[in-house]
């Protein structure tokens, strides 16, 4: 099985992935964890803003916009069966 690990900021629009890890050293991490950005959770990039940043993501049934500086903290893996 081919698994690719990238950071959430690089997830293309419309694609779904699974959160693998969060950089807990960052002060923002605790907040992201509390919001449900935890390993094993499915996340979908919905769309980028007209000027390229921020991006809205769908997670746990709600939508949250994150700037690149936040979404870079999150490592994801795209499993082959969830490409779209």
């Amino acid at each position: 099985m081919v698994r690719t690990t990238i950071c959430l900021a690089d997830l293309p629009e419309g694609h779904t992935a699974t959160i693998r890890d969060i950089d807990v050293d960052s002060p923002t991490a605790q907040r992201l964890l509390d919001l449900g950005f935890i390993p094993g959770t499915k996340i979908r990039a919905i769309k980028k803003a007209p000027m390229g940043d921020p991006t809205t993501f769908e997670i746990r049934g709600y939508q949250m916009g994150l700037r690149r500086s936040e979404s870079e903290l999150i490592d994801i893996e795209i499993k082959p069966n969830e490409k779209q």
Binding site: D34, P39, D53, R60, G65
Partner: protein
Amino acid sequence: MKNNKIFLIGNPNSGKTSLFNAITGERLHVGNWPGVTVQKIEGVIRSPEKCTVLTDLPGTYSLSPATPEEKVVLESIDEASKGKILNVVDISNFERNLLLTTQLVELGLKPILSLNCYDLFTKNGGSINLQRFAALTQLNAYPTVARTGTGVNALIDCLISEEKEPSICKNPSSLDFSEKWKTVLIKCAKSFNIDWAEASPLKKHEILSKFISTSDNNLSEELIKIRNDFAQEISEESKRTIKPTNLACELAMDRYSRIEKLLAATATVPEKNLPKWQEKLDSLLTHRIMGLPMFLALMIFIFWTTFSLGEPPMGWIESGIDFLANFAESKLSEGLLSDLIINGIIHGVGGVLVFVPNILILFFWIALLEDSGYMSRAAFMMDRLMKAIGLQGRAFIPMIMGLGCNVPAIMATRIIDSKFQRFLTILLIPLVSCAARLPVLVLLCGTFFPNNPSLWMFLLFSVNIAVILLLGHFSNVIFKAVENSPFLLEMPPYRLPTFKSVLDTLKEKAWHFIEKAGTVILAGTIIIWVLSSFPRDIPLSFDYENEKTLIMSVNDETERQKALESLDSKRELEYMENRYMAKLGKAIHPIMEPLGFTWRETVSLIPGFLAKESVVSTLTVLYLPFSSDLGEAMTKSGITPLSAFVFMLFTLLYIPCLATFGVMWRESGSLKFTVSSLFIYFIIAYLASFIALKVGELMQTADGIALENILIVICSIIAAWYLINITISSISGKMCNSCSACSGCPSKTENCKGGCHK
């Protein structure tokens, strides 16, 4: 009557404020929490037997505080545990909203749940077995729809019921820690010599955050050992390697698994809170190409309605005030008292009321945008642009409104949720040139540069924009290290705004403005009045009354009128020169001298604080000895176009008007912030004017304004900008704060706390 306290706690956007309005019959007061400038709203629930006070705590996603607002919530927990806690849970976003509930339960609290937005939940296909839910969580839960008031009565009955609801859990709730975590936390508390079961909620939170902290620094050896053992224990159990520094992540996973288990047992939760048609609407409204033009068109419409539909009522208020002033004048005998009433109080009150139409119209639109959910989409689209001046997307609307009038614009900063961002926006708005400053500039530019006034106006505005960019940029770089709240922008579902909620907002805003800012504006008006009408007895250089009778004997009607007019203005000038205002102006004149200002210009800046228009009228009087035409007079008195330009630049930037000052003070809740902002504006205006003067002088010595000189100036400004940037980033170790992916960074250094250079 007994007095009880209830604390309202919940996620941002969970409908907390609507529920607050639906529950409370009256608002007690809006104030600040001690020490921080975060709004505190209290209301009363009236019932025959007693009077219950409901305190609305700021919205928070969790109890681990990231912003000053959220710190307030955490610090209120101990007090709240003595009374009742009402936890608003947006059931249409169930899992995430239950995290806060879980945290409350973990700390031994027993909140009453309001499952809000219940209509949306059922409409999306959700259902819940309330009895099971209550039995498993050991919490009272009431489905409510705060916007329409459905279910609120049952909730109120529970809130005011006499039966002493134990705030401390008796039976284990399914949301509480599992045995494994509880055991380790009891051990952990023991290492601090604290009994976990007896500890206050705040103390428990403290122990818990120590236990899950991401580094071993500042921890006792005993605690480090407990952490290591526990990490090993759960590693073995889950067959993954878990580092003791990663316990925060484990706890979050544990919490969400508890929530998921609970929901699986009690409810069917819709897959997403945004129905399909809303997603379609979203992709249209935030479309890559179409989104921005649509938003801008909407902004232009809002701007136009706010400031042109606001004009007629403003005119009515003005004529009403004039009528009142005339009425008072006719009834009162001329004297100090009537002068105070007419010029001080009546015009002061008028100066307050005149802003109300603008505020009402603007907030009508803002309430619609906010309630409908479009505001978050607008912020989403504008965020990248506003980031350039260190602000976030929500700051766009207040900044643009500043072009019309700074007063409603500063009030509109309420839509910004982060305190730091709000203060920065409040700081920048007064630098946005409002509509009232335009006539002053038009008049001055027309006077001094009759050939091409628009070019000079354009230059003035360019300098203005540059100043805003610079100030925003620097404040952000300087304060970034202090404030590091994450940027999170939730996209709420679209909703139809209700008439009642819009009306509530309008009522609150108008009243808040009149009550809070109005008093400051009125007081300021009276102070300026005192400065400009005392001392009363001014020795005149010659007998005007005598002169008047002499003139009266002249036969020619037009000549007599003319002579009388010139005599009157002469007398006015003499009065003005001797009043405190002129004395104050002369006293501070040495400070202004390096800018090439005469004392007359310095004096005119003082009433300019009341309203910028007064600068021109004061100048006209002061320059009477030279000519009755201001432009001619100033040229005659030896003022060059250059010093006139510098004066205009200074007028544009130096200090916001009194009303803006009042609103800044009241909206920020901090006099220190407001006064230091005034100093900042003054210093900026001074520096900008000084630079303009020196640059202008340089260009004048080089035979008029040559193109290459302008180019040199522009290049040096860019170079200076670049240099300052480099200096600041080297001092503050920039790229450390906002940078992510820290742990994996190869160039991570000691002196950048937890950050890296990327």
